[in-house]
């Protein structure tokens, strides 16, 4: 059942993104920035956590989930270390993903050439 919920929640988040791109003339970059920021804000007001409970990877894998990890990390670090945590928490929580993206992004860019379109 968790797989069904992951499919539905993840699919619906993507549909919202598709609707924004089709109806407004916003570029994917705009949508991604809006989504990651929304993820941070929704987490801060406590609305994203329930979505993660229901959807699992369906909520953490779409880009608002990245915002969720950032906000959750910042809040947790503030609870543990005070005001310094506001600066360290978000990046700390997402460091793994960012490092993997940089390392393999670099390797792939060196190994492969763009395909002719």
């Amino acid at each position: 059942m968790t797989y069904v919920y992951a499919f539905i929640v993840g699919g619906l988040i993507c549909v919202i993104g598709q609707l924004i791109m089709d109806y407004t003339k916003l570029t994917p970059a705009h949508v991604l920035v809006i989504f990651v920021t929304s993820g941070v804000i929704l987490t801060a007001v406590g609305l994203y956590e329930p979505l993660v409970k229901i959807g699992g990877a369906g909520a953490t894998i779409p880009i608002p989930g990245f915002g969720y990890a950032l906000a959750k990390g910042a809040i947790k670090a503030v609870d543990e270390n005070g005001i310094i945590g506001a600066f360290t928490g978000g990046v700390e929580a997402t460091a793994g993903g960012i490092a993997v993206a940089i390392v393999f992004g670099y390797i792939m860019a060196i190994l492969f050439n763009p395909k002719v379109k």
Binding site: G11, I63, A69, G89, A101
Partner: protein, 150 residues
């Protein structure tokens, strides 16, 4: 001057008439299916991590994100991801694999400009704005949380 404005308006109307309208339903269906499948696959990866590598839930979640980024980067390198993206639209852009795609695609494209200003700089042409705004928002949230708590 007035003529110019008028002709601009006419041109805009002409554009509106001739530009193909996106097929909203079909686009959404593709986004739903591809986005859903990517997330379901990630959920399976997550459960495998928990079951066979004895990871904690939180640990497994970040390991899953890393795995998906790796897969997204590899598929982009192989040229497969862009083919999926043509149909899937937001279904391939919004999941974290799309974030990996946004890093690898420009890095490959601008490789000929060297590893400093090509790969190194262009890597973040799309991912940069996401990181900047995401981190900015998270620091603000951290500050608000700090002052509300006191």
């Amino acid at each position: 001057m007035i003529k110019k404005v008028e002709s601009n308006k006419k041109y805009e109307e002409y554009l509106k008439k001739t530009q193909p309208k996106p097929n909203y339903f079909k686009n959404c269906l593709w986004a739903f299916i591809v986005g859903g499948l990517i997330c379901t696959f990630a959920q399976i990866v997550h459960d495998l991590f928990e079951k066979y590598l004895n990871m904690e839930h939180v640990e497994a979640t970040s390991a899953t994100v890393m795995t998906m980024i790796f897969i997204g980067a590899t598929l982009t390198g192989l040229g497969v991801y862009d083919k999926i993206g043509k149909r899937a639209g937001a279904g391939s852009i919004i999941p974290i694999t799309g974030f990996a795609n946004a890093i690898v695609a420009p890095a490959m494209e601008f490789k000929r400009e060297g590893i400093i200003f090509g790969v190194g700089a262009k890597m973040f042409i799309l991912a940069g704005p996401i990181l900047v705004h995401g981190i900015l928002a998270s620091v603000i949230v951290g500050f608000i949380h700090y002052f509300l708590k006191r």
